[in-house]
Symmetry: C2
Subunit: 217 residues, 2 copies
């Protein structure tokens, strides 16, 4: 992959900073040692016809490389990982893919649901009634994941692309103590976040928000 550009949002509110999904792509690129340029759209441009031509659903991330456009954080990271064994060891390909899909399709939904309740819709009356059940659903997945991670440093024998997707998924609950209450999860997430590639990705994403801080009304 050459001439890589990653698209993210030029500004999001503090509660969302460090959670927007282009972080996943930046992290993978940093782990793979691939240089990339950042491109940004603002919230209004998401639904513009020009951006919809890049991404039919008007979301981020989008990546451009060698003149090709690619969408979906899972698919982009899959593509990077296929070319960089450090993210997908050839003898652990099946397991890496299984855990990548598990992060996005089994663990993310109940965690994202709680993020919506607490951070996006918290002024709505229904959230108070819904929250206890949503916490139970999130905890069921966290407990199973914690049992798996007991005695393990990463999901598999070494760090892989699946850890990028799982750690960024766990971060959706950083406003709660649900993850930290499971010691194996707490240690796992801190271990992932301590990686220099994650720190670099986070800095690259945060820089544009700092630059674009809107003046308080």
């Amino acid at each position: 992959m050459k001439d890589i550009a990653v698209w993210g949002f030029s500004w999001v509110p503090p509660f969302a900073q460090g959670l927007v999904r282009d972080l996943r792509v930046r992290w993978a690129l940093e782990e793979a040692g691939l240089p990339y340029e950042s491109k940004w759209i603002n919230a209004d441009e998401r639904t513009s016809e020009g951006y919809r031509r890049k991404h039919p659903f008007g979301v981020v991330p989008v990546i451009e490389s060698d003149g090709q456009t690619m969408i979906e954080s899972g698919a982009i990271i899959h593509a990077i990982a296929e070319q960089h064994e450090v993210l997908m060891p050839p003898d652990r390909r099946t397991e890496t893919l299984a855990w990548m899909f598990a992060a996005l399709n089994t663990v993310e939904p109940p965690l994202w649901n709680l993020f919506v309740i607490d951070q996006l819709q918290n002024d709505q009356a229904w959230t108070k009634l819904r929250r206890p059940g949503a916490v139970d659903e999130a905890n069921a997945r966290l407990a199973a994941l914690s049992a798996w991670l007991e005695g393990r440093e990463y999901l598999l024998e070494s760090f892989t692309a699946a850890d990028i997707l799982m750690a960024t998924t766990l971060r959706f609950l950083r406003h709660t103590n649900l993850v930290t209450e499971f010691l194996p999860l707490d240690k796992y997430l801190k271990r992932c976040e301590a990686r220099p590639a994650f720190q670099a990705a986070l800095r690259n994403q945060a820089a544009v928000y700092a630059h674009n801080t809107p003046v308080a009304a």
Copy 2:
């Protein structure tokens, strides 16, 4: 892949019949022309230690093949598609993967959310307050998908693994008219469901439910 066994639930309530995710795997296997055996667990066995050794989250599907276990419908279908070009044409690999992840990570969450509201938690007071917003969120994804499918038979030039994941995702809203109100989506889903491989997969899954119909209390 040889000696394939697919794990599903031995019985689920009528509102869930035809929606459990092992249907995706059966469909892919039927499209690829691969014979498979069905294995079933009941709801209690999900959390058993033996089954957790197969699937850390205690869900279905699980597939066994050549003595190897694989989890996650997305990962299993990915593995089948890699060996069967009919599900992933080599020159459309990137696009197929992008749409597979789009189905599972961008379209499924708001559709599944509405399924939970209407079918799993419909006796809860919060669902009445939450439903209008959840319908809007589902409709936003459906509208974007419908725009993409306008003038197309399938997500890409021919049927692929991505259509298996997208069509089975749209089916989560079969209890509503949200999908059918978008003519391109309605035609797309009917086109997918008319495929002999889908019909065979559905029959194989339904047979065990019919066999295990619980006696009314």
